[in-house]
Symmetry: C2
């Protein structure tokens, strides 16, 4: 289950991947992705900190991807804002639980499946298919 | 990624599944699962509303499972408190997105995998293995 923050980060990075020609301003990005500008600003800070996005200041400044869309998986985007939590030790700190109990082992197995599923999708994979991500906005005033 | 509420609901229901002899009081359940009592009370309300748990009042009252552990999957427990969100329509409400874009189709596919993974695990499956769920507490004062 994806958090709102992760969903917003993915919308932003997908938009940047689709607009490689020139940096995109925070304002244009907020409009295109339908994310409140203040919220998006925090999300973008996390993406910059994680080295996925760079922010250029100045007149023609804005956000752009650091790497090519081929090189970025959606797991990296999600982990930049709200990492998939793996369960390494008993969350209850129970004595005698050096190995995970069946409940937490099962939950961690599923978290591992989730990690692999997100890690298998690259930004380029999101370009195929009939409907382009966030596409009608592309033709709007903020494109 | 499991929310704290879902994790707490699973701890509670696993404890009840392991203690079928007699209803378990809220106080004993909170101690065994290490969940703050007020938080647990809300979680238990959701489980009762979903028909997974029944609450008996009175001197020997407490919580117990409605069905046998064989009949309950962890998906049902999770869905009782914080359902796995599927993406049925474009979250941005974009015109022309009658079908999901590749981003949201991918995210929904993964949500579907998650649903199936949780749906494949029954409470009885959590009894196998060397370490019993929440076991050391079993030997403590609240057992």
């Amino acid at each position: 289950m994806l958090s709102r923050t992760a969903e917003y980060a993915l919308r932003a990075i997908v938009w940047l991947a689709d607009h490689p020609e020139t940096p995109v301003t925070g304002q244009a990005l907020a409009a295109a992705t339908q994310v409140p500008p203040d919220y998006l600003a925090k999300v973008m800070q996390s993406l910059v900190r994680a080295g996925l996005v760079e922010a250029q200041r100045g007149k023609n400044g804005g956000f752009s991807l650091v790497s090519t869309p081929e090189e970025v998986t959606i797991l990296e985007v999600i982990n930049a804002v709200e990492p998939v939590r793996r369960i390494r030790t008993c969350p209850l700190g129970l004595a005698g639980h050096e190995s995970l109990c069946p409940l937490h082992r099962s939950l961690d197995n599923i978290a591992g499946q989730l990690e692999r599923a997100y890690g298998a999708i690259r930004l380029t994979d999101l370009r195929s298919g009939g409907v382009k991500p966030l596409c009608p906005v592309l033709e709007g005033p903020h494109a």
